[in-house]
């Protein structure tokens, strides 16, 4: 089941059902149009008390990553952060001579993304946050049927002491990086022209009707050339486009963490020893200022990396 909170959210319940929810519980409240951690914590906790779910999952977004531990503290549950894998398994406790089953196995990268840890929680609900971009959105089945239940929580005025003065969102939060079929990403090696060629390649692909977007690695953001929202990697976004073109990116493990789920990876770098070449399917060793103009020309004359243009 899914809980949705906000203003005018009832109309969204059917979409959630079509994406796989069997029951959508909605809290309709004008004061909750913007996410607020205190009332949201209270609502979730009230619902958890009423329904006793075994598992509670949140997105590992800036909201989910503060909401989940706050709720977990209230329900005495541990929380596993930023998971990239979730499975149901069992745990044999030799000490207690029992087998915990079924139990949620939450997997998350750790130690600078070099290891994968499996975390188990023994207090229900078992709470985990799921890293954005690593799980596929369940396919939509139009017309799928499910239950829609309104929920009227008890709201305490004290939970509204924090006031959101204003909210600024630029370029739709660049959610389109998650949906793009092709991402052209520039690294430290492409800062000479402030990612000009990177943007041109992405633009050329868009003109061909390809759902393309451009992104960057962390050094580019650190140098103030682009905004954080475009950063791919452990501390940025995790993306999984069909094609990921890494240009001038050395391939630090933190960057790989953010793009390794991509379909096909193409690397362009003038350093043959760059570790990005160990994490790519195809590559060109060369200077991007030579290669990209040529590639842009090919795209302009119709080359689309085998992707089908949207009509």
């Amino acid at each position: 089941m899914t809980l949705i909170i906000g203003k005018k959210v009832e109309s969204l319940t059917q979409t959630l059902i079509e994406h796989g929810s069997d029951e959508v519980i909605f809290v309709e409240n004008d004061r909750l149009e913007e996410y607020l951690v205190l009332p949201f914590t209270s609502i979730f906790t009230q619902l958890i008390k009423e329904r006793n779910p075994e598992i509670a999952l949140f997105a590992a977004t800036t909201s989910g990553r503060e909401l989940a531990p706050r709720i977990g503290m209230r329900t005495s549950s541990g929380v596993t952060a930023d998971c990239t894998g979730l499975e149901i398994g069992e745990y044999i406790s030799k000490k207690e001579q029992v087998i915990y089953t079924p139990i949620l196995e939450s997997r998350r990268p750790t130690y600078g993304e070099s290891k994968l840890a499996t975390i188990l929680g023994f207090v229900c609900p078992q709470v985990s946050t799921a890293r954005a971009g690593t799980f596929e959105v369940p396919e939509r089945v139009v017309g799928r049927k499910g239950i829609t239940t309104p929920f009227k929580p008890n709201l305490d005025e004290k939970d509204f002491v924090v006031e959101v003065i204003k909210t600024v969102r630029g370029e739709g939060g660049l959610q389109n990086l998650f949906d793009a079929d092709l991402i052209v990403s520039g690294g430290r090696g492409t800062t000479t022209d402030s990612l000009g060629l990177i943007k041109q390649l992405a633009e050329a692909l868009k003109s061909q009707g390809i759902n393309a977007e451009w992104a960057c690695s962390r050094p580019v953001v650190d140098e103030g050339i682009t905004e954080y929202a475009r950063q791919v990697g452990q501390t940025g976004k995790t993306v999984r486009p069909k094609i990921y073109i890494a240009v001038g990116i050395s391939g630090a493990i933190q960057h790989i963490a953010g793009m390794k789920e991509s379909g096909t990876v193409i690397a362009i770098n003038q350093n043959p020893k760059a570790s990005i070449f160990n994490n790519a399917d195809f590559g060109i060793i060369g200077n991007y200022q030579d290669i990209l103009p040529e590639l842009i020309e090919r795209v302009k004359s119709g080359y689309t990396f085998g992707l089908e243009a949207k009509k």
Binding site: E34, V37, T62, E66, P69, M73, R74, S76, S77, G78, V79, T80, A81, I92, Q97, V98, I99, T101, E105, P109, T110, G112, E113, S114, K115, L116, A117, T118, I119, F122, V123, V161, V162, V164, I165, K166, T167, V168, G170, G173, L174, Q175, Y228, K260, T264, V265, I266, F277, N278, D281, F282, I284, G286, D290, I291, E294, L295, R298, F305, G306
Partner: protein, 293 residues
């Protein structure tokens, strides 16, 4: 009514020297250590607040082994006045829940409760480089029962009992007005942490750090340490690259290279040779009763 500025810091191994013990838990004994970067930004945010509240009391707190005193002394060298360390073997192996609970209990023991007459603000780093969870600030706020703002880039006092925090959200930011007491966690994108001052370093060297054990703060063992934590690390495996070897373009100029790339793409790349699946040993599943919980 002076404000108390409380900074929570964690000492972490230098990211390049992280090691893991046999048990899957962090081995902190060998690596060189620093104050976690995000926590350093939290410390600086506290020192910035001092400009608006010159008579504020600045305290820094941590939880961990005795070696964490180094981090507390560094914080004092930056400008903090008092330092508290919660250190107890029984806390070893605590997960984030148990850590949040223990730190909140220490703060309450020091008199910082939601009903405190004196205003206070708790500053922390967004997350740590060795844990990456970002949980503890939220858990501390919940356990004390006060509001919070996490992922905050800057925080300013309005001169009364409120602070305005700039919270970074996906693709933008929010400005929020919070009453004190509250918890704020800082991203490493705000005002860079200052260097230690000479007078601070001298003060730090002579500083008496107050160290508490769990008995001192009235914390029981039921909910802390490995056995009290609601979560455990069941196993840790190495991650391996799942990508087959690369197909590189060949050619002497960009036209040939791009031609070659396009041809390679059309042909398809290498396929990962599946390592023979290691025959799974049938683990003896003991005849324990199932526990549905």
């Amino acid at each position: 009514m002076a404000l108390t500025i409380i900074s929570l810091v964690k000492q972490v191994p230098l990211p390049s020297e992280m090691r893991m013990g046999e048990d899957g838990l962090m081995d902190r004994t060998k690596a060189k250590s620093i104050i976690n970067i995000d926590c350093q930004f939290g410390l600086e945010a506290g020192l910035q607040l001092l400009k608006q509240h010159p008579d504020a009391r600045l305290i820094v707190c941590s939880m961990g082994p005795g070696s964490f005193e180094a981090a507390l002394r560094s914080a004092v060298a930056m400008g903090y006045d008092e330092a508290y360390l919660l250190s107890d073997r029984k806390l070893g192996g605590s997960d984030t829940y148990a850590t949040g609970l223990a730190i909140a209990t220490m703060l309450k023991h020091l008199g910082f409760t939601k009903d405190s007459k004196e205003p206070f603000i708790i500053l922390a780093g967004r997350q740590t480089s060795d844990g990456d969870t970002a949980h503890v600030p939220s858990q501390v706020a919940e356990k004390i029962g006060i509001p919070q703002a996490t992922f905050v880039e800057s925080v300013k006092s309005d001169g009364t009992n409120n602070v305005v925090a700039k919270r970074i959200i996906e693709g933008g930011y929010q400005l929020m007005n919070l009453p004190m007491p509250c918890v704020i966690s800082l991203t490493p994108t705000g005002i860079p942490p200052r260097k230690q001052s000479l007078s601070g370093a001298i003060k730090a060297r002579n500083l008496q750090i107050t160290t508490f054990g769990i008995d001192d703060i009235g914390l029981g063992t039921e909910k802390i340490g490995i056995s009290g934590s609601p979560t455990i690390v069941a196993k840790v495996v190495n991650m391996v690259s799942e990508r087959p070897p690369i197909t590189l373009a060949e050619g002497h100029n960009e036209v040939a290279l791009v031609d070659s790339l396009i041809a390679n793409l059309a042909k398809g790349g290498n396929v990962l040779e599946k390592k023979e699946a290691v025959e799974k040993k049938e683990v003896d599943r003991p005849d324990f009763p199932n526990k549905d919980f």
